[in-house]
């Protein structure tokens, strides 16, 4: 009787409650046929829907690149818009396979949330935006200001640290969604809008008169933004990490979406290993040997993605700066494919 009950209850527990968070994400993804990617609720240049409802942005392209690496088809990806507050829970609970949502890599998040950051696809820092008419030249003049920002971000903590360490009074007005922050700042509820500088460049476009506002020169924090995966699945972690590295390596070697076909015939051993015409690096990831080749031919290298979404020729007009390759004085550096 006891044994029987135990078996019955054990089955009930196993079927009803046990989750398999550490099971192979790659197998699950192949089974369902697409990568589920957590993105923002609308941040131009990073993840935003265009007029036709198509997702665009540097974070979105990273997810497309992962889909290209896994399926050889960059369109096999679905997007879940998440608020800053929901994002980690959505990833932890398996609702999304990868979180690519301008998320800052911090020690606390990396260690206490059961998550792993798989790289940095944008080196950012927090800045301040103020209306030009206020004649403010430096963030150090902001004592007594009312500051609009988003809840549930590192921004709230950085601004508190900055004003405290400079002995300045301030009032923080924190909204859940970025659109409300923009609306309140636009209405004059705050003198200052603070978030990552890339975010300021993007949100400025939503203001009624974008040119009346100026981003102050101070950068008050380090904000390395990158994709996040769950802990405990090293294979999937490697796939995301190396998809990003492949795009950086491709730019360094001069392999692009445009010249991909030509480069397939290249005699350069480095390029041959990257594009899978030599070696079997793809199989070590559990993918086909053309994994990186698909990424580059369908999405492009890191430089192309940057230029298309946030670069000087886009409305955001962000110079490469820290995000240039290490060979050009920036921080983007990838280990070799070898």
């Amino acid at each position: 009787m006891k044994v029987l009950s135990r078996v019955a209850l054990g089955a009930l527990v196993a079927a009803g409650f046990a989750t398999s968070a550490s099971a192979a994400t790659l197998d699950d993804i192949k089974k369902k046929g697409h990568v589920q990617c957590g993105v923002s609720q609308g941040l131009p240049g990073f993840s935003n829907t265009d007029d036709s409802g198509k997702w665009t942005g540097i974070d979105v392209d990273l997810c497309r690149a992962v889909a290209a690496a896994v399926f050889g088809d960059a369109t096999k990806v679905k997007f879940t818009p998440l608020s800053a507050k929901e994002r980690f829970t959505a990833l932890q609970s398996g609702e999304v396979d990868i979180l690519s949502r301008n998320t800052t890599w911090t020690m606390g998040r990396d260690t206490a949330l059961g998550l792993n950051f798989a790289g940095v696809n944008y080196y950012d820092g927090q800045g301040f935006m103020v209306p030009k008419k206020l004649n403010v030249k430096s963030a150090l003049e902001l004592g007594g200001a009312s500051v609009c920002t988003n809840t549930g971000t590192t921004t709230e903590l950085n601004v508190a640290d900055y004003f405290r360490s400079n002995n300045m009074k301030y009032e923080v007005v924190a909204f859940e969604k970025a659109d409300e922050v923009v609306a309140a700042y636009d209405a004059g509820r705050c003198d200052v809008y603070t978030t990552d500088r890339s975010g300021l460049a993007a949100q400025r476009l939503k203001l009624s008169k974008a040119d009346d506002h100026v981003v102050l020169p101070e950068i008050i924090s380090k904000e390395p933004l990158g994709p996040v995966v769950r802990q405990g699945d090293d294979q999937w972690f490697n796939i995301v990490k190396w998809t990003h590295f492949a795009m950086v390596n491709a730019e360094e070697m001069g392999v692009s979406k445009a010249n991909h076909a030509e480069m397939m015939k290249s005699a350069n051993p480095g390029i041959k290993r990257l594009l899978g015409t030599e070696g079997d690096f793809g199989s070590k990831l559990g993918l086909g040997n053309d994994w990186a080749s698909s990424v580059i031919s369908q999405v492009g290298n890191y430089g192309e993605v940057y230029e298309a979404n946030v670069g000087p020729n886009t409305p955001l007009k962000l110079a490469r700066g820290s995000n240039a390759l290490w060979t050009k004085g920036g921080l983007q550096y990838a280990p070799p494919v070898r």
């Binding site: 046990a18 550490s22 932890q92 206490a112 903590l157 508190a160």
Partner: protein, 482 residues
């Protein structure tokens, strides 16, 4: 207790594959035996049950869960085999006793529910650990490090997450209480206006109700916050009333009262006046019952409540100063406007949320009031008139007391709704419990399970307290049957 919890939660992985079933059984058997003993044997059985719990917990802690299981199995079988001695029919088999059978069915249901809850809790703990997600309540003592723009208790960035919880909770309670107060007044006015014979007043009330309750609350909040916000002067300008109260986009600025050392006398006088007025009303009522003579106890009471504190206030030398908000009109443009922490600032987020909640809920309350008044049969009014009561006393003494019986229960619902709806505050940056605690704190610590559980318990607690108060009031005004 903590030791026991640690023992359960720190056991190795294999234990949870098999062992927790034993723990479950132990708890189930325990519960079963206690329920059996308590129901069959009355009060002495409760003592036996309590002793059994102690023994089982001690066994489980110092020896093994298997021992507790063994004891549970033996005890429960023994309890079932004890012949049931029925007061009238003598000894009958427990299997044929409808009472015993009903009891067993209840025990089985109870065991299943207990098991479900137990399995959910342990699974959550195990899964959090397996995924390396921090858990526990230690975070409440960690430094929060972020600012909040409305705090009813002293709070700085160096305060703890525990204090952010208190700040958020108080902000929620503040907007709920003031909102309930305003919504009730407005709702009663509109409800009575809806019954007015004056065509204009009647139609205004009608359209108020139809428009307000058919627009989603979130839109109300956005309209008040964004539309009204844009209409008032900006930070460097203001509208002033008597040069004392000011309004601009940063909210309402008023003089902050600074009570002097002797101000407590005024407060004591105020409280004493309320007690005196209350006693006076009781005495007047008793006298009216005895002799039929009336006494204007409301007006006299009101006079006492106003005059007594005022007298105390001036007798102690007016110990109340006001700090006026500082408005900077000159100098660099950035520095102009009201200075923070000078005077009393009511932030626009609070105003917008309060207006939206009160105006929206008042539409529902108006309908409840109208229904309540209409529920009192017209014959009651006619009877009162026949007795020679004028229309004022008729309304006050005959109609309203009866209408309240119909009004109070649905009114309680509206109060609960208003409190829970206040969590929409997060949309417009009012720092309520959901925004500060279930929002920012959750995100900084990542401890979703603990924080959501605490938040749910808080709303449950607030609702139960509101219900308890309203139920008490309802039973007081209920029809006393003789």
């Amino acid at each position: 207790m903590q030791g026991l919890i640690d023992r359960i939660t720190s056991l190795p992985e294999w234990y949870f594959e098999l062992g927790r079933i034993d723990v479950t059984f132990a708890i189930l058997m325990l519960a079963g035996v206690i329920a059996t003993i308590m129901s069959w044997k009355g009060r002495p059985g409760m003592l036996v049950g309590a002793a059994y719990v102690v023994v089982a917990v001690v066994l489980a802690y110092f020896m093994s869960f298997q021992a507790a299981v063994g004891l549970g199995m033996i005890a429960s079988i023994a309890a079932l085999l004890v012949p049931n001695i029925h007061p009238e029919h003598g000894t009958i088999s427990w299997f044929n006793d409808p009472r015993a059978r009903g009891l067993i069915a209840q025990i089985i249901l109870f065991l299943l529910v207990t098991f479900g809850i137990y399995a959910m809790v342990t699974n959550t703990i195990v899964n959090l650990e397996r995924q390396n997600i921090a858990s526990g309540f230690g975070f409440l003592n960690q430094t929060a490090g972020f600012g909040i723009n409305q705090t009813l208790i002293p709070y700085t960035e160096e305060s703890t997450y525990g204090q952010t919880f208190i700040v958020g909770l108080l902000n929620t309670i503040l907007v709920a209480i003031v909102g309930i107060f305003l919504a009730t007044i407005l709702g009663f006015i509109v409800g009575v206006a809806r019954l007015s014979k004056n065509w204009v007043i009647n139609k205004i009330a009608y359209w108020y109700i139809e428009v307000m309750r058919n627009v989603p609350l979130l839109l109300h909040i956005f309209v008040w916050y964004f539309a009204v916000l844009r209409a008032v002067p900006d930070k460097r300008d203001k509208w002033s009333l008597f040069d004392t109260f000011h309004l601009n986009i940063y909210g309402i600025w008023a003089p902050e009262p600074l009570p002097g050392p002797m101000f407590w006398m005024t407060v004591v006088a105020f409280l004493a006046a309320i007690v005196i007025a209350f006693i006076l009303a009781k005495l007047a009522k008793a006298r009216q019952m005895r002799t039929g003579e009336t006494f204007p106890s409301f007006w006299v009471g009101l006079a006492i409540i106003i005059i007594l504190p005022l007298a105390a206030f001036f007798a102690t030398g007016s110990p109340l100063d006001f700090e006026h908000p500082k408005f900077v009109a000159e100098g660099p443009i950035f520095k102009r406007g009201f200075e923070f922490q000078s005077g009393l600032q009511v932030i626009p987020e609070f105003i917008a949320l309060l207006l939206a909640l009160s105006i929206y809920t008042a539409a529902y309350i108006a309908e409840i009031v109208r229904a309540g008044i209409l529920a009192v049969s017209h014959g009651q009014t006619e009877a009162a008139n026949a007795l020679g009561l004028r229309s004022g006393p008729t309304l006050r003494l005959v109609v309203i007391p009866q209408a309240l019986r119909v009004i109070i229960p649905p009114l309680t619902n509206q109060y609960l709704n208003l409190t829970k709806n206040s969590s929409l505050a997060v949309a417009i940056a009012y720092p309520d419990l959901v925004a500060v605690f279930a929002g920012t704190t959750l995100n900084q610590t990542g401890q979703a399970v603990e924080i959501i559980v605490i938040t749910m318990l808080v709303y449950l607690g607030l609702s139960l307290v509101t219900s308890a108060i309203m139920n008490w009031y309802n039973s007081r005004i209920a029809l006393v049957e003789r």
